[in-house]
Symmetry: C2
Subunit: 205 residues, 2 copies
Amino acid sequence: MKIIDISIPIHEGMPTYMGNTANQPKITTTTNGYITDTRLDMNIHTCTHIDAPLHMINQGETIESIGLERLVRRCKVIEVDANDRITEEDLHGKDIEQGDFLLLKTKNSFGQTSEKEFIFLAEDAAQYLIQMKIDGVGIDTLGIERSQENHPTHKGLFSNDIIIIEGLDLKEVDPGEYLLVAAPLKLTQIEAAPARVFLIEGLAL
Amino acid sequence: MKIIDISIPIHEGMPTYMGNTANQPKITTTTNGYITDTRLDMNIHTCTHIDAPLHMINQGETIESIGLERLVRRCKVIEVDANDRITEEDLHGKDIEQGDFLLLKTKNSFGQTSEKEFIFLAEDAAQYLIQMKIDGVGIDTLGIERSQENHPTHKGLFSNDIIIIEGLDLKEVDPGEYLLVAAPLKLTQIEAAPARVFLIEGLAL
């Protein structure tokens, strides 16, 4: 069994979505001589995280509606050779089946894009994944979308009960099948949760 | 396969260690009309979490020193019929072996104790677990220790590289063996990390 961590480290000064400094975490450590204690203050979309529909849909479902059974399961890592955005055409010919949880590996994982100019999932590609009836999708950057008015990628996926994981690092992962473990903090009644996400190789469900 | 969530929910007004209100999380949600966004501000020992030696030992190892391989593994849930504190005697006759990761189920899981008067692991019991060379121990309350000057339970376990998980809820778990998944947020250079922790039944490593 091999574990491949695909989460990004949380630290002050980390990259943020669109370079938004307001999303920087504040990590405050104190000591009384031998007890060390830390307070963490961050936007919950700052690090690797799982989004729920409420993030973009008023009265949408909140994070606890996504059961752990949907987050601990077989997944497929698919490498997409896209520039600027992943289009429907980029996904044609890929091994995508109904019920899949896809993790999209792009140039983002190799530091070839920036906080503001990352590769994202275009609306037509999101619609294709909705037609294919996938169960979830993860991407190797802090946003699955940018530069699209009214966020049709988010809204389309959320409206079709497709889980979104943002902020993965897939640099060390070869395309193929793995056991996905996406473990969100047990927050409730809100639109997302920070998560530790890793893959397990050599263990089948 | 069955997943049993053993994490406690994070919310404002949740129970805290010794009833310390300063440890309450602050969860601030805003909306711009359709985008909902939340900021989470909390002490990292507030919810289910994993401690690293730095928490009680100056210059001790920090949380990233605990590899995921030590947190995704076989574990044993042991029920202990203790009042006030778990002593060495309470552990005699239990199925404890070298290398075990033990989760201690007590009356805490049944709400029969309070924020300030919870059942904890006494120093002699910690020394016994050190002699038995276990690898980790979890408990069903926010502190593995109280009422012991200079924190000998914490320090003994940390000095012997025994992982501590605090803040479990074992109410729904029968004693026995499970696959443990303890997934801390990917924080670095600090003394602990909030975690989602769950058990998997029917899947062997």
